[in-house]
């Protein structure tokens, strides 16, 4: 007899599946990754809270890289084109992906975004500026090479512990707005590092200020290390 509701129906069969629910997204992400590898484009998924300084980091990165690299940006934004406009003003190629109410980008959105930006094939770097959110974007593989999380010094030391999924998936944490540290006597950099070590197996953090340019040179060197041919590539650690 049917165990679920006692209806007497004997034709209820258990079917074992054991499939990832996001298998369709994973397939789309693999497809994107193959495209990026074929064209030797390094794809960087840049995540972080709203206001963590993701767009400002990209503006500073554009200034620092100058003509040394071809860079494009797919900017996820709930409702506006503001981020892409800022990035274009900084001299980079940028397209918005307006997500409406969706709190994250998924692999299919990236694929569609690439169709609207055919010059991506010539890029050295494709930055994917994810929707400002420390929860949802971490769940979706986009086909990126690396995940970078921007965490601003004003957000509090315990963010890594509150959002372990996001930080666990980060290859690098950019601690942003460090020019504000003199005004924040209670923020402990050692505390942030200790919390990262509890959620990241290989905790890597770099301190940057997009405003003053502090630390941006090290971030750019980290990016340049990603361009080492893939067979011999390694990700440089934060010092």
């Amino acid at each position: 007899m049917c165990q679920a509701c006692g209806c007497g129906d004997s034709n209820v069969v258990p079917v074992a599946l054991n499939e990832r629910i996001l298998a369709a997204n994973d397939r789309a992400a693999r497809h994107n990754r193959e495209h990026f590898r074929d064209r030797e484009v390094r794809a960087i998924n840049l995540m972080g809270s709203p206001g963590a300084g993701k767009t400002a980091v990209l503006e500073a990165t554009a200034r620092a890289l100058g003509r040394g690299a071809k860079v494009g940006v797919l900017a996820g934004d709930l409702a506006t084109d503001n981020d892409a406009q800022r990035i274009r003003a900084a001299g980079l190629v940028a397209e918005s992906i307006t997500t409406g109410t969706a709190c994250h980008l998924d692999a299919a959105m990236i694929h569609k975004g690439l169709h609207r930006m055919p010059q991506w094939r010539t890029f050295d770097y494709l930055f994917i500026e994810n929707v400002g959110n420390l929860v949802c974007p971490a769940v979706y593989d986009l086909g990126q090479d690396v995940n970078v999380v921007a965490l601003s010094v004003t957000e509090g030391e315990d963010k890594p512990l509150k959002y372990p999924t996001m930080f666990q998936k980060a290859d690098l944490v950019l601690l942003t707005k460090i020019d504000l540290l003199p005004h924040l006597p209670d923020v402990s950099i050692a505390g942030i590092r200790a919390n990262l070590s509890i959620v990241m197996p290989v905790p890597r953090m770099m301190m940057v200020s997009a405003r003053t340019g502090d630390g941006i040179d090290r971030w750019v060197r980290w990016l340049e290390a990603l361009r080492v041919p893939r067979a011999t590539a390694h990700v440089v650690g934060a010092l």
């Binding site: 069969v13 079917v15 599946l17 990832r20 629910i21 769940v139 200790a194 959620v199 197996p201």
Partner: protein, 113 residues
């Protein structure tokens, strides 16, 4: 609130499985959600209950099995204690996530004619 998009993906999978088995209804859905998968179990349940009305899953409750996060030494020196740095205390190698990131449809109970 990506739980809604996860439920949409779940319904796509359930629809595929039901079609391939010739099922007329789903009687139960079992999923596993890891502690650090980034999915809120209660939100997932709410989203599922909203979506299932007048679908194949109308009479199918969802069983959500939560899976605790477990980090372990890649060289077999055992698990990392909760709340500690994610390096092996014996060999200092970075820990590997052994469990806790599951977002998995494990089993369906299908009503077949």
């Amino acid at each position: 609130m990506h739980e809604y998009s996860i439920v949409q993906a779940l319904f796509d999978q359930i629809g595929d499985a039901a079609r391939s088995h010739g099922a007329v209804a789903v009687r139960r859905v079992r999923v596993q959600i890891g502690e650090i998968a980034g999915v809120d179990v209660e939100l997932l349940r709410t989203a599922y209950d909203l979506f299932r009305v007048r679908t194949l899953c109308d009479a199918a409750p969802i069983d959500i099995e939560s899976v605790a996060a477990r980090w372990t030494c890649p060289d077999g020196h055992g698990d990392i204690e909760r709340g500690c740095a994610l390096v092996c205390p014996s060999c200092a190698r970075p820990a590997r996530l052994a469990a806790g990131d599951e977002i998995v449809l494990t089993q369906l109970e299908l009503e077949v004619p």
